[in-house]
Amino acid sequence: MRLFLCFFVLATLAFADSPTDAVAVLANKCQQCHNAQMQMAGVRLTSTADLLQHRDKVLAAVAYTGKVKMPPTGKLAAAEQSLLSAWLSAGAVWPANAAPQKAASTWWAFQKPVRPAGDSIDFFIDAKLAEKGLKRGAPADKLTLIRRATYDLHGLPPTNAEIQAFLADTANDAYPKLIERLLASPRYGEKWGKHWLDLARYGDTSGFEQDPYLLYAWRYRDYVVKSFNDDKPYDRFIKETIAGDELYPEEPEAQQGTGFYTVGTNRDMLYKQERENRVETLTDFTDTTSGVFLGLTVGCARCHDHKFDPIPQRDYYRLQAVFMPHQKTRIFLHYNNARGYDLNENTRLFRLQELGAQMMALLDPHRKRLRDAVLAKMSPEVNAAFRTPDDEKTPEQKKITDQFQKEVEPSDAQVYAVLSKEEADRLDKIEKRLVAMYKNFGPGPFSPGLTDIGRESPRSFLPAKGGGNGEEIFPGYPTALGGGDIPAPPQEAETSQRRKGLAEWIASPENPLTARVMVNRIWQFHFGRGLVNTPSDFGTRATASHRELLDWLATEFVARKYSLKAMHRLMMTSAAYTQASRPSPKALEMDPENTLLSHYTRRRLEAEEVRDSILAASGALNLKMGGRPVVPTLATEELYGMSQPLNNAWIVTEDAREHDRRTIYMLARRNFRMPLLEAFDMPEGVLSCSRRDSSTTAPQSLSLLNGRFTLAQATRLAGLLEKEADPVAALWQRLFGRAPEPFEAERSNRFLAQQTQHLGNRSAALTELARGVFNLNEFLYVE
């Protein structure tokens, strides 16, 4: 009843100046898409004539009764509806004082952020809390803080020594100093680089049946880690990513950013379907670029005008045209060495072919002789079957050759056994030469990247209805964000400079989305959820919990020269971040999802953090950085189902110390994830991932409890504990930076005694204790 009254009052009030207000409704709710530039769904509503032409359609659409419901973002309020229909029925005459219409959208996220009044994160957070009658929670204790900050910036737990040093530092600036120390460590780039690699759908292989290696993808991974460690300004990072080749032609390191476009699932894999491959690649580039940098989900507009956001199909193809002239390339990280590598490789192949010929000349006669000797003892049918070329064999002959293959074909060992001394020496020489050719073999100075085929681009077209090409399209920016064309490149240009245009437009402080989207991502990883909780979708269905704070942060980000580390400092030193994770009863009731941040939201470790923390706990963690992906030993049953033979698909790294490196350096196969990581929600790495799941499942418990990895590390940890007078106390100190509580100490010691009985010795019992502790919530959650 109250609601009805409310509408009624609103309607009455609004009606006072109906044409002006009706036009306002039209401008705010209809014309963002149905303007002269966009004409979404072919409908323009900018003049009396337009409105009269579409009157019935409009009335039906806003009534939400038919198939077409407008606006798609939500039904108009009753008052707005009646205003609009009254005005339409009256002939839709524009009032004289109506404001001029704008093509650009009025959606808040598409307007450049204006710095709101306010001086700190807490100012905005506290204000929102106060609106609900809530208060900021108590500050967290120092032990909690160092663990939280270290996980957030490093993805690793603090060591006991680090904890004790921090606890002992009673200076006022102990906490800011801690943040500085963490930001200065290279562990930071490994943690935050991984967040970026999720967005970049990074993998070391291409996907599909063969899932072939992307041999140098890891150079991009290392580039990302280094960029974060160097605190490369985000606008610069964007430019390197989208157009490093065009903007920094003399800087190969900067061009590595374009690897972003080469480390995803290779979409060139469909056999004999080059057109389809090309389209899929362009789609991936367009969708990923707009989603990652702009928080725009343009994918829908590939086939039709976007149903919810003011993105007409034409805009999609304008954006796609930017990538039309692209080609994948190898970046020469060091020009002379790269050329030298190629030349050596070329020579090596030539020599290899000669050595191959020599080997065959040496071995084949013997092979044939041995085969013939066996065949001579066999039936004429078998002989005939083996002498018939493969593609001429009858099915029966095929069966025969399958059946007797092993018997007839001599093994290498059999052939070697019949070589003369002189022949064996020759073979030995060949083998020595082969080995010598590879003694200095290593990866070349190449990084995967993108450039253009040249100054001219293939033409782009809108798809015509019913197939084929429609109208020709030229590269440009989305109309809703102000539009604009990318100019043709100067005559002397070596590339189309389309990506340069896009990169500069996205990296410009004038772009309304870029800074907002990035600060929101940073926020998400510190606070558990974004201020906009759809981090790659800032379209009209996105909602912001603290829009002013978002805008304030976005303007801060630009003012602080796009420094990520500055944003970490800002966020992590806020009172909002340093709260304890205990909600008040009132907060639980009023704000169960903790959108308003009345306390810190506890989080589960991410997959990599689980594995890295266990390695840190066992003392095995190897902090070597960068380089070729590492392939750790896995059990056959863990590798079950790999699409290719394991000696091709899982080539275990020889040096076992490498297996204990951080997870970011492990081989990321597109077709296979390490089971422990898969269980803990590591994304597939096929599509861009802006927010991971954090599930709680029985397979997680099983893999953490029974997995080989856990047991191996528990054994190592037990080895460390054995030397301790009080292993329980030592364990708690090592893992949690504190002494065990009496209950924990008593329970654990009782456990040790019982397990020693069950298993017959104390070191096995210690291993069990370690295995158990890896499964504790205190280990798996960040407070």
Partner: protein, 456 residues
């Protein structure tokens, strides 16, 4: 308000699955015929013209080329449709059952179930390589990264057994698609298929590690439980912590239940014989079919059997040996699948279980080399049974050469829409917001579903 994601996090649950409050409207749009699915996916591509789509014209014109107009637009990796020669099927096509349903002599055991089987002879796709075609069949897109039909199903319907996964996958080893064919894509990871392996420990890490006695394991779980409960006592506001405690209890129950689910010793000799467990040719797939029945009995929602492997026998050996490959694969699977249908029927499970037999594509009616057939997505066959389906009938047809689906053509989206509908789910309403779109298994397709025909 707790959103769906949080709900999933907070619910202490088993392998996957949860009947979602938000999903219930998807179900109200269609009456559920089936509670469970057993989806037999034939890995490598089964020749339709040698199995379920008899083509006398091919036999008649054996050795000649097809009319040039028919060849236009047909592409595969290894043959040229303008030059390759027609090849008649080497198998007979008897009529089976009261219905007289015609299919090849490769499946004599299935012949007994002809009246249960509804055959679709007009499937078509546009992917002619294995991995893309498997992705297309199983996820609705040629490119990896989308959720599989099994994941969509359990996302929509949840599970009836908390101690077992809701979506169980069995394979013969390496799959050409990799795990993407049963992955969860952008759906929560809990909805991905769980691979069941051979042996007493069907799920990875189900078994207690070697050297740890059951008593010791119990002791360790006890420690974990006690310390976690102590930790939780001061954090009772956070149900995820409680959920994780329950997940360990569940893991423990699963350690006891799952081996039982795969322990076939309780099956009678008659059942073992029915599935061919004692015959070398049928033992392996027979075991998987029998396991599928046991899963369905225990309320597992979606069981998918990938029959054939990239690194061993599969239908794809037909490239150079049609006869040998198809005889072998048919012999390995005919009796087990027939046994599965008999067994489900005898136990009263067939009406509530949808059995699907499908492949990523058919094979060329034209010969590859002397003895083979290449991949062929332009027209191929599948069949379904159970779930109240009216069998012994054929839907659609390919042209007289078996080249293209010409009557009632059905895309994989139509097939998938039909499968979901039989499970009581409207494929247009089962959605997940990703990249700004409400994504569906059937994307914007699936308008030609044929549920009515199947039930007709």
């Amino acid at each position: 308000m707790i959103n769906r994601r949080e709900l999933i996090q907070r619910t202490g649950k088993g392998f996957a699955g949860l009947a979602l409050a938000g999903m219930s409207q998807a179900q109200t749009h269609a009456m559920a015929r089936a509670k469970n699915i057993i989806y037999i996916f034939n890995h490598g591509g089964v020749s339709h013209v040698d199995t379920f789509d008899p083509k006398p014209t091919l036999t008649k014109l054996n050795g000649s080329t097809i009319p040039p107009s028919f060849a236009a637009g047909l592409v595969t990796a290894r043959i040229d449709f303008r030059k390759a020669l027609m090849r008649g099927s080497p198998w007979e096509f008897p009529r089976y059952g009261q219905s007289g349903l015609q299919f090849s002599s490769l499946f004599p055991h299935l012949g007994k179930h002809a009246d249960k089987m509804a055959v679709v002879r007009s499937c078509y796709g546009d992917a002619f390589d294995h991995a893309p075609a498997m992705f297309l069949s199983c996820t609705g897109s040629q490119f990896p990264g989308r959720p599989s039909i099994g994941s969509w199903t359990v996302y929509g319907l949840g599970s009836e057994n908390k101690n077992l996964p809701s979506y169980v996958v069995m394979s013969d080893g390496a799959m050409k698609s990799g795990a993407g064919a049963y992955g969860a894509g952008y759906l929560p990871a809990t909805h991905q298929g769980t691979m069941f392996r051979a042996g007493q420990s069907p799920v990875l890490n189900l078994a207690t590690p070697a050297g740890i006695t059951p008593d010791a394991q119990k002791e360790t779980l006890g420690l974990v439980n006690d310390l976690n409960r102590r930790h939780y006592a001061s954090r009772e506001d956070d149900s995820t912590l409680d959920a994780r405690i329950k997940a360990y209890e569940l893991a423990f129950r699963m350690q006891s239940e799952a081996p039982g689910a795969v322990d076939l010793t309780s099956e009678t000799p008659a059942t073992r014989k029915l599935y061919g467990l004692d015959e070398p040719f049928t033992a392996d797939f027979g075991r998987k079919c029998l396991l599928a029945r046991r899963m369905v009995e225990r309320g597992v929602r979606f069981v998918q059997l990938f029959f054939g492997t990239n690194l061993g026998d599969d239908w794809d050996d037909a490239h150079n040996d049609l006869l040998g490959s198809h005889e072998k694969m048919a012999k390995k699977s005919d009796q087990p699948i027939a046994a599965l249908l008999s067994d489900l029927e005898a136990r009263g499970l067939l009406d509530s279980t949808l059995v699907v037999w499908n492949s990523e594509f058919g094979r060329t009616p034209l010969a590859e080399g002397k003895n083979g057939r290449d991949h062929h997505p332009y027209g191929y066959s599948m069949w379904m049974a159970g779930a109240g389906i009216h069998g012994g009938r054929v839907l659609g047809a390919t042209d007289e050469f078996g080249l293209r689906a010409v009557e009632q053509p059905k895309s994989i989206h139509d097939v998938n829409a039909t499968i979901l509908r039989l499970m009581g789910v409207d494929h247009t309403k089962l959605t997940w917001r990703y990249q700004g779109r409400d994504q569906r298994l059937t994307d914007v397709h699936g308008e030609n579903e044929f549920t009515q025909w199947l039930l007709g």
